[in-house]
Symmetry: C2
Subunit: 362 residues, 2 copies
């Protein structure tokens, strides 16, 4: 029978620790099945847990099946070098702490993400890191399902509305604003935004654009807001014709940049939110017989080895990809080791790497 | 009691099918737990299996735990766009047939590969696709362990000596020979090979080089052999100074190409076996104040969007990455569906994409 604790709610790890007369960390390690705990202390913790009625799912799971020392990671696109870098950070950190990492890629498809979460629950991973495609509170049931089974979840790269979870991101809005400010400082006022949230047609107003963006990924919204912030600060009016409309593909990007280059008051600079938008933009320049930075200036996400060997080399935003993954794994492993989830947003710094793709408008 | 079949060895699916009076495919589907089989036929197959003592692990597994409809994939480096493309091919094909795919990356570390194979066995995947880092018959115990547990394995990208498994690859030797022949046809005779098998110092002889290569990955060996084939056919003597020595990193590659550019009889062309070797070579050219194709010609593995937006665009070898993955998944799913492993090597065609990085020596 559980002892009367004189309060409501299930007993916590701290209460078990106090009852056993051990430190909280020792209780957490014992109950979580992680790390070394001597047999005598272990016995005391388990006796205290039983006395208090501590029966967390984690305990039941570790007792019935053993912990698996496996983390599950769900990424939006394994083919994006950004996620490859994040995965390496997760892998390096979790390997150092004795955990293997299994990865599922959803290719930005929410149905696939739901299936992936179910696979990870079924495979009994100890914890999950997700770069989620969910943009709405009605789209997070699969993440809640994992948490309900006492599988801790940490978000990476993207905040998800309505989920109060530990989250590791960069400040996308600030990174975008800095890039666009750099273009403005060089003298540009006709600055294309490539690519934006997928829209069937050009937004009539700035409000329409933001409403559309709100139905898209958090990181995409934030980059758009950073672009608008920089325009606002410089009192440059927003022009809907300078935002890419349509599918987010490299091929379509090339067409949209060609359209912006053909405007009577054409773009003189382009801000690219993805590496594929950079290559799409470069293709459009070549077709139009234009070169950078003479005819057009260019800054983009994410830096990579090719951007630095281009002639001229490209000014790019570098995300701390390895650190994003390492931090997400660290937070998750701490929770698995007994730390309480802190529901914090961890914001890492990106960096604008100045090379030679920005010049004054011709 | 098993019926006397008048022969040694465990009963096969074909024998169960004959006993049940059904087609082999029906017996395979029933015993493998895949695809639709009507209840009456299913009953007959199971009765025949019991009569003959058919107790394959797969049957035991599917009966006790159910199939999991999960494929496991072990890749050498999730950060290499080549593997990202292969994974997409695997994922598209397996999703279409109702299977999820979980991925582990070994970062070319054989110990990690062994751990990854154990994770996949532990997670009860139905089948495994591996791009293995194993180069020696003493390094394949983990792959045999999966097969012994009746988890079929298909190899992708790399053949592994001593493993007689279905394998999906390109003809690396032929692809390399074609690239080097293209450089020779343009008039080059001083052609660098970047990067080769990792060697501490330059090989004294061609035989030393091949012996060293034989202790490395099959695909690396094959690309080296293709380079040597092309030299032989053109009666160009092998020069050990034109082979990259040392760590296979982009940074070290830059140093090695700088060394080859500083030789009294310097390189006039470079053949790169990896995309990172291409960016490393381009960095060395920039430092030396040289440009391609005027001062030096260049062909590399693997084509990507950046190579085509360079100025001038690069002549590159394109591997059928999606098809490699799709074929590997198809072969594996066919085995899971009841087909017998055919122990075949499936060779897909790569393609040399001619752009503008090759010219006559200056």
């Amino acid at each position: 029978m559980p002892a009367d604790r004189g309060q409501s709610g299930p007993p916590t790890i701290s209460e078990v620790a106090a009852e056993a007369g051990v430190g909280r960390a020792t209780a957490a390690r014992t109950l979580g099945g992680y790390g070394y705990v001597g047999p005598e202390l272990r016995e005391r913790v388990l006796a205290a847990a039983e006395k208090l009625g501590y029966r967390a799912n984690a305990l039941a799971r570790s007792m019935s099946t053993g912990v698996t020392h496996t983390l599950g990671v769900i990424v939006a696109d394994i083919g994006n070098p950004f996620f490859a870098g994040v995965l390496r950070g997760i892998s390096d950190t979790s390997r150092a702490r004795g955990f293997d990492t299994i990865v599922l890629s959803t290719y930005e498809d929410l149905d696939e993400e739901v299936a992936a979460a179910n696979v990870l629950i079924d495979k009994r991973v100890d914890g999950v890191i997700i770069a989620s495609a969910a943009v709405d509170r009605r789209e997070v049931a699969h993440i809640r399902a994992a948490i309900d089974r006492d599988i801790p979840v940490v978000l990476v790269d993207r905040m998800v509305p309505s989920l109060d979870l530990d989250t590791v991101v960069i400040d996308n809005r600030d990174a975008a604003r800095e890039a666009v400010e750099t273009l403005i400082a060089a003298g540009h006022r006709r600055i294309g935004f490539v690519w934006g949230p997928p829209m069937a047609e050009a937004p009539a107003t700035r409000r329409d654009l933001l409403a559309e963006a709100a139905r898209n990924l958090w990181s995409d919204q934030e980059r758009l807001r950073g672009y608008l912030d920089a325009l606002d600060d410089a009192r440059i009016p927003f022009d809907p014709e300078l935002v890419m409309v349509g599918d987010k593909t490299e091929e379509h990007c090339t067409q949209e940049v060609a359209r912006m280059l053909a405007l009577p008051d054409r773009v003189t600079a382009v801000f690219c939110t993805e590496a594929e938008a950079v290559t799409g933009t470069l293709r459009a320049l070549r077709t139009a017989g234009l070169s950078y930075p003479r005819d057009i200036s260019l800054i983009g996400f994410d830096d990579n080895p090719w951007a630095s060997v281009m002639d001229p080399p490209l000014t790019m935003i570098e995300q701390p990809v390895h650190d994003l993954g390492a931090k997400a794994a660290e937070v998750l492993l701490d929770i698995l080791g007994g730390a309480d989830p802190r529901h914090e947003t961890h914001v890492l710094r990106s960096r604008l790497i100045t090379r030679a793709s920005v010049a004054a408008p011709s």
